[in-house]
């Protein structure tokens, strides 16, 4: 790792700022492990696990670290705890498979890697692990099949190099066949964050691009690169990488979410709605995902569907002001003024100027001018520059 000391300093500062943050301790452990500083890595990982005993990345890296110290069975037992708590977890199955392969437990290793493959079929980096496992077991046919499928999957990407074959070959030799900890794919992300914070966004982006070449078809890395490109306003490239991520792995909800906005920027609202629909389907309890989906539906004139989404948000959280205001506005458009008033008159958002203006509108339409004035005066007390409140107050009259 090029910027090791910078990364370690950054992470140590983060652990001082947030000593109860398991992910930060885990990242510190991961970077130390990658640097070969196993004892220090174990200390950091143990701190992470003291906060969150099942923090997967920390458990997995700890298992590999124990293996480095010649404690392979202790490492294996570490996996058992994680595997017992969530038997069908993709990352755990893959890491356990790699761990078993590393220690020559080839049949068990292949079985776990194939389980991971079943959970996320077609993912090139999993196929690469499977190919390496089959090769060790002497099944060249199955190994070639995985390599071919991995190559075909990469060809669908519009991002990255024109030909991924050489990249895949290099990755197999340097990483997949070495049975290294799959969580190490996280290390370039940490490095990129450090570079970004140091004002070296260009180098950070390059670091993530390299990471995507070292771990081809790794959807989380593609998402991270997409985020960097987005931050640097390279929207077209960001769209390619986010699209690539969801092409590789349909569970990448963050990528779908970002694509919702990127497509909207290009005025392609049908694609925006489609992407956000996917994001909501993957994360149905995230109110902000639903909110943005509903907003794009409203923009497309699909107000019935938008209304349903806003209602669902309020079922999840009756205090969601963003949804309440939009839903009240739809009610007012449909002349359902009482519904709008009921929605807006209580809740943590009831003093929002925009909510008060809407409530005033509903009262005015119901002929309750005095109530309308009260709402507008409250809105202006919060924000005297609110022009909608002022205009409506003039219209309602003294």
């Amino acid at each position: 790792m090029q910027h090791l000391e910078d990364c370690l300093q950054f992470l140590r500062e983060q652990t001082e700022r947030q000593p109860d943050c398991a992910p930060t301790w885990s990242h510190l452990g991961l970077v130390l492990f990658d640097a070969g500083r196993v004892d220090e890595a174990l200390e950091a990982l143990d701190r992470a696990l003291a906060i969150h005993p099942y923090y997967r990345e920390a458990v997995i890296t700890r298992c590999f670290a124990l293996s480095e110290l010649g404690r392979s069975h202790d490492g294996f037992n570490g996996f058992k705890v994680l595997h017992a708590s969530i038997p069908d977890n993709f990352e755990t199955s893959l890491a356990l498979g790699v761990y078993c392969m590393r220690h020559g437990w080839t049949r068990a290793g292949l079985a776990q890697i194939l389980r991971a493959e079943m959970m996320r079929p077609g993912l090139p980096f999993v196929l690469s692990y499977a190919a390496a496992a089959f090769e060790e077991l002497g099944d060249d046919g199955a190994a070639d099949d995985r390599r071919r499928r991995s190559s075909q999957a990469m060809k669908r990407l519009r991002a990255g190099p024109r030909s991924w074959d050489a990249v895949l070959k290099a990755a197999r030799e340097a990483f997949y066949g070495q049975w290294q900890n799959p969580a190490l794919a996280r290390v370039p992300v940490v490095e990129a964050t450090v570079l970004r914070e140091a004002g070296k966004s260009g180098e950070a982006e390059d670091s993530l691009l390299d990471a995507n070449l070292r771990f081809p078809g790794h959807p989380e890395l593609m998402v991270e690169l997409g985020k960097f490109l987005l931050a640097r306003e390279h929207s077209a490239e960001a769209t390619k990488w986010f699209s690539g991520a969801v092409c590789m792995d349909e569970t990448q909800y963050q990528a779908f979410y970002e694509l919702g906005f990127l497509h909207a920027d290009n005025r392609n609202l049908n694609l925006a709605a489609k992407a956000l629909n996917h994001a909501v389907a993957l994360r149905p309890l995230f109110p902000d995902y639903r909110y943005h989906l509903a907003s794009v539906l409203l923009d497309r004139g699909r107000s019935n569907e938008a209304l349903e989404e806003f209602r669902r948000i309020l079922t999840l959280d009756p205090g969601d002001g963003y949804a309440a205001v939009q839903l009240a506005s739809i009610h007012i458009e449909r002349q359902e003024w009482e519904k709008a008033v009921d929605l807006l008159r209580s809740g943590p958002f009831e003093s929002w100027p925009e909510a008060l203006v809407l409530q005033a509108q509903a009262h005015r339409d119901l002929g309750h001018r005095a109530k309308a004035r009260v709402c507008l005066e409250r809105a202006l007390a919060t924000d005297e520059t609110n022009s909608e409140a002022r205009e409506l107050l003039s219209a309602v009259g003294a």
Partner: protein, 146 residues
């Protein structure tokens, strides 16, 4: 002037926040007829080396950039631990600690998506639950915090 839809404004606000590496897992944003609102907590993605003064300056930048977006009439920002002082500058407060002990929820505070903050749940919650389950539970626990 051609009306800019709420969703278009939201997409542009998202771009502003992305440029500044704001973690939108903890910060909610939305717009309604040109009124943009931000609520929640201000954090930067992947960790933060900024001092409070630098974050205040960043918040100011974000506010001004959003105000300059086409179609935006006004911006309301209600973030935990941040408030404007008498001179209109952003400064860090201790409202977060006070708000948690208060019976009245923060005005406008909303549940946000959670992608990486499962450790917060664990710090509060004695149950030992594997990581995936936390993502959904974080929503409900975050709600209870208000």
């Amino acid at each position: 002037m051609q009306q800019v839809s709420d969703y278009e404004i939201n997409a542009r606000v998202r771009s502003v926040l992305a440029r500044h590496w704001v973690d939108t897992a903890k910060l909610r944003f939305g717009s309604f007829r040109g009124t943009v609102r931000l609520t929640g907590e201000l954090h930067r993605l992947g960790g933060d080396t900024h001092t409070t003064a630098q974050l205040a300056s960043k918040l100011d930048c974000i506010e001004h950039e959003i105000q300059r977006l086409r179609g935006v009439k006004r911006v309301y920002i209600q973030l935990e631990k941040w408030a404007k002082n008498g001179t209109g500058d952003w400064e860090a407060t201790e409202r977060r600690a006070a708000a948690r002990s208060s019976a009245v929820p923060d005005a406008g505070a909303s549940v946000t998506s959670s992608e990486s903050h499962v450790y917060e749940l664990t710090a509060r919650d004695a149950r030992k639950v594997p990581v995936e389950d936390h993502e959904e539970e974080e929503r409900i626990v975050t709600k209870d915090r208000r």
